[in-house]
Symmetry: C2
Subunit: 395 residues, 2 copies
């Protein structure tokens, strides 16, 4: 008999959190139900219909007519890698904008793919100025230009249309990270002429993590078709993946069936609400949280001019124990918020108001709970000021 | 208002299949329930416990003490890529055994990673002889030797212990695909000294597709630590992934939370049954199916000496329409079986008896349904012979 050295762990029983960190966000019960629906095969006619439905809905949400629009079988970072490795061949020049952790990650991914990378760097929390982009792309003449629409590490909201024009005028492809922006703020893939765009499921789409929606413009496809070398990653090679998502239905890898069920349901919820309503909801709840936070005497880490609604980076007051507050929120209230990343580690909290999480109820309970934690930390926020500030913003 | 060009697709309503193809296999209701449990954050203490539980259970199932044992955040093919790209640097020599589609895929992955690949090729359905391995590794002196334990495209069961010894004597690392074997036939990672082993969740573990269990020996770790270049894939770079699964808990990418819930539950079911019992069940149902298939006058595509129990490749009789039979099984009976891949396309059916799917009930209904389909195709199987043959094998 084979020896067993461990007892079987107890049944799964996850705590019920309010996910107000930088993602994952809360999932709608309909999405969880879809996730747990019976598995069918990856070439089952029913699953092919699920894929078609999701492609159509993703095009709506990305605001594009791009044929090559699908969900990569990995989390958002795999979508980043898919966009980079399909466009870059060893020796190609790429400009990457780095004003947070995810820009830094993109530069790393690009270098591993063999790109000669030029970085445009800005301190965490700032955005990338268009005139600097113009100067650098003129000098470098890159094949690909990469930028983050919504920097999850800082909460900075990067304007894209002007930069996209500059990048195209320089003959480069525009590669954009929309992991945190998709479904939460306006994104116009076709109108802004974005060429390779990836996102994640677990932010403003409110689907559990595990897939990465991507879309590629005809210009990006032409660049892929003109490659002289194979894509370094077999798993992420769009020349094969597209033949499975396209009408050929050529087997590539076994798709994550149930995750695709969940994405389809999450997209249905997005379309039922409507993109404009969804953006407005994200904005409204952000403004209320911001009013409450500032009424408590706390400050945002990012100027209002480019502050994302779904990711609120808030300066931790002097004398407050970062980890203690986050633990108290989690253990006493079941509220998850995020800590800082990179140069913002220990300096900010990141409060997410993404997708299902973005609600009046969550804004108010978060402010109330935070008030108690700050009192327990010896701070003296004016009693009830946070909640009152938010309520005033809502009325 | 943003224009919408499509109606919202109808609610999800997948058909209830019996998944008797090459994977995914049927999932236990407990696994589906786990999949749909409330999402928590990827750094939530509860989720870290889920990861620890799964690592421990994966070590049991892989039969290893390897510290670096975890679930890659992608399907089985991403596990293949993870094993290859973490061990191979450009210019490294790798020998890959190709006797089916998945060996061919591994060679492709290795070439993309920059390996100088030498193939040991055998016709589909055959296994790789140890003496040929000895000759080739002596000549090539590779860094890595790659082989498929259970060729899902052919149903061939590759013996490993003797080859592993030969490979180690030549100073190479032993990289093994166990996508279809793990949980269905004996696999002894430590005893056989396998160095890099990957699997999938959707075969004999009976969890939906989306994760790839992997394990690396200390010898493989030493090779990774000795690398001079960064791993080409950021997403699959084990030097970072291991710091998230290890006690540092360093953020790398957002783990697919709910898929990891499901894997944990699937592993609990495996341990509750016990590996030996599970292997015996797979064998028993295979032998019954085989008795039934042969009683109907059909033939296996692979000799009994190396025929996998969970993947039964059966020659399609002359005059029978492959696609028509598979469609009839699906549409009339809700039974999915697989067609042939590569050189076996149109020549074989692949009947999977994997994990939850491997049951007496499924064997009997499959044989009965197949008899009807063959009759409808103008064949003349002896009435009831398939079912009677299987019942005799069970008694």
């Amino acid at each position: 008999m084979l020896s067993m050295s461990m007892p079987v762990p107890p049944a799964l029983d996850p705590p019920r959190r309010i996910l107000m960190g930088p993602g994952p966000s809360d999932t709608h019960p309909r999405v969880l139900a879809a996730l747990g629906a019976p598995t069918v095969g990856h070439l089952d006619p029913y699953f092919l219909q699920v894929m078609d439905d999701s492609q159509k809905m993703l095009r709506e949400v990305f605001r594009t007519k791009n044929e090559l629009t699908l969900a990569v079988s990995g989390t958002g970072s795999s979508g980043m890698e898919a966009c980079v490795v399909n466009l870059i061949e060893p020796g190609d020049r790429m400009v990457v904008c780095v004003n947070g952790v995810f820009g830094g990650r993109m530069a790393d991914v690009a270098e591993r793919a063999g790109a000669v990378v030029t970085k445009i760097e800005r301190p965490f929390g700032e955005i990338i100025p268009a005139d600097e982009v113009a100067a650098v792309v003129k000098k470098v003449s890159p094949k690909v230009f990469g930028i983050i629409h919504a920097e999850t590490s800082t909460g900075a909201w990067q304007p894209l249309p002007e930069i996209s024009k500059i990048v195209h005028d320089a003959g480069a492809l525009m590669l954009v990270d929309t992991v945190t922006s998709l479904g939460g703020i306006p994104l116009e893939v076709d109108e802004w002429e974005l060429d390779a765009v990836y996102s994640g499921t677990q932010k403003c789409l409110s689907c559990p993590p595990g897939l990465s929606p991507v879309t590629f413009s005809p210009r990006a496809l032409a660049a892929m078709d003109a490659r002289k070398t194979k894509v370094a990653s077999w798993y992420l090679d769009m020349s094969m993946v597209r033949n499975y998502w396209g009408q050929q239905r050529a087997y590539h890898h076994t798709a994550p069936i149930n995750m695709n069920y969940a994405l389809r349901e999450a997209l249905r919820l997005v379309l039922e609400e409507g993109l404009e309503n969804r953006h407005a909801r994200h904005k409204k709840n952000h403004l209320a949280l911001k009013a409450g936070i500032e009424a408590m005497g706390l400050k945002y880490a990012v100027p209002a001019s480019h502050c994302l609604p779904m990711l609120n980076a808030i300066q931790i007051p002097d004398g407050v124990n970062d980890a203690a507050v986050r633990s108290q929120l989690l253990n006493e209230f079941g509220i998850e918020i995020g800590g800082g990343l990179g140069s913002m580690k220990g300096k900010v909290w990141r409060i997410g108001l993404m997708g299902e999480t973005s609600s009046q109820r969550n804004v108010l309970v978060c402010l109330a709970a935070l008030e108690k934690c700050l009192l327990d930390q010896g701070q003296k926020p004016a009693a009830g000021a946070g909640v009152a500030g938010a309520i005033a913003a809502y009325r």
